[in-house]
Amino acid sequence: MVKVLDGLRGYGLIVGMWFRSTLAYRASFLLTTLGNAITSWLEFAGILIIFSHVDQLGGFSVGEVALMYATASCSLGLADLFLGNMDQLGARVRDGSVDTMLIRPVPLFAQVAADRFVLRRVGRIVQGLLVLGWALAQLRPGWSVLEYALLAGVIVCGAAIFGALWALGGAFQFWAQDAAQVQNSVTYGGNRLLQYPPTIYGTELVRGVTYVVPLAFVNWVPLLRLLDRDDPLGLPGWVDFLSPLVAVVMCALTALLWRVGVRSYRSTGS
């Protein structure tokens, strides 16, 4: 527990340093923020354009699809904000600069998570929340407090699953420093996938992201329950509530692999 608190404190300190470092490059900060905002709004515009031609997509209305988009965005955004630079660990492993992290009195994981922190990543979360508000306004689902709490839970568990995937990819980079591409295709690519309802994809793909890489638990599985829809894989009802368990298992697996990874870190000659 002390270690977790230490980690959080160290994380905060290092994030502060990176934040001030980016202030040294204000113009670049503004430009990339703008660029990112344009990209993510274009993404959403794509969905709206589809719905200007059709009323339903795979049996889902525009509000429902927007809800999927929003939850996926928020989850990915949270994970990206806190752990987004895990994919660059490989470069640090290769040039041996992990050395300097290992001599600080802060757990390595916290330092790697905070490494090159960029605040502009908040943008994706803000956009996700805006779309979420819009989607709920469209749907007017008449939910009780419990259902809204479930929705919040979906986002948090989704963020944990994405985060675990990121960290898992990071841990792999202790051995394979070029794993970043694979890792990003799973996380960012997975996010694209989850922005649309599962019914528009083939069952093979849906099976893959349920059993192999459990992305379906980020939003599909619990949202189908919230929206009173049938599961395309016909899984039993209790599976809809498995997201927290999936998140915990993924995190535990990641923690394990991370430890092994750190132990096998070999630095560079110097």
């Binding site: 300190l13 290092i14 470092s21 600069s97 992990v98 050395d99 290992l102 110097s270």
Partner: protein
Amino acid sequence: MDGMAASDGMDGTDGMDGTRGTVAGGDELIVLEELEKVFRVRRRAGRFRRTRSEVRAVNGISFTVRRGEMVGYIGPNGAGKSTTIKMLTGILTPSGGRLRVAGIDPQHERTRLARRIGVVFGQRTTLWWDLPLRDSYALVRRMYRVPQARFRENLERCVELLDLAELLEVPVRQLSLGQRMRGDIAAALLHDPEVLYLDEPTIGLDVISKAKVRSFLRELNAERGTTVLLTTHDLTDIEQLCRRVMVIDHGRLMYDGGLPGLYEAGAGERQLVVDLEREQPPISVEGARTVRVEGPRQWLAFPAKASAAPLVARVAADYPLLDLSLREPDIEDVIARMYASGDGGGDGPRAAEVPVAG
């Protein structure tokens, strides 16, 4: 050398022998027992084939460093110096052997150990590239939870002794190599570490900066009692700072003891330079050999252990002597000779490398 022997009791004072009994005493800050690090590497052998082999970067090293010692850790390129330091700091996991620093196993309690040690890698900086030097120090204060008053005092001392006053507000990326190195040394000391590891701290420094760093380290060791372990290729560092030297080669400890002993161990020779009245054929005299003749001046080499007096007497008796002077052995020569006698010498990789099956 004598200082060390005291705690070893009956384990002998043999300087050449790295292995010492590990008497569990509060005074022993760093204890290594048969420490090993093996890197498994893959090499290209032909166009597509790859062979796997093992590099024994550290090959069974044992030593003890007591609190307050200042030890030089030297050896040729690739001897395993940096690798040892990385294991001592918890960066690398040892492949074998036992290791304790301040009673802590670096690998299992790395972050706890980190609070008690300071590390400076000459090749690498811990400072924040885009921020003023001062900000990096502020981070150290908060990260190590250094009390405000203590921090201010330490910083003032470092700033004064390492001449950092004008650099505090400069972004680190604008510092020169030598300025940054001084900045790094200060950063490693603000939390009052018990041990300071320095891996090539004087690399790339000019004469004045080197002198500054050396006198700073000497003061640190004398006044604060900070234990210092430093690697360097500049033997002047060792001569000026360290009473104890450890020489490693191929991942093995070749010598552990004082500087004077090193001369003997390396079969060091002193030289007698004699000026004769006129040119003469090379002097032949018992107990020495003539290594160089230049006009009336000749150089005679004799074992460092032997006394010069009888030799001078013999030369004076047989030759028309005008003047003479004595040269102490050059530490560089001594060490070069030691490396060469370690094994065939040569330019191959210094660490032992053996192919493995599969």
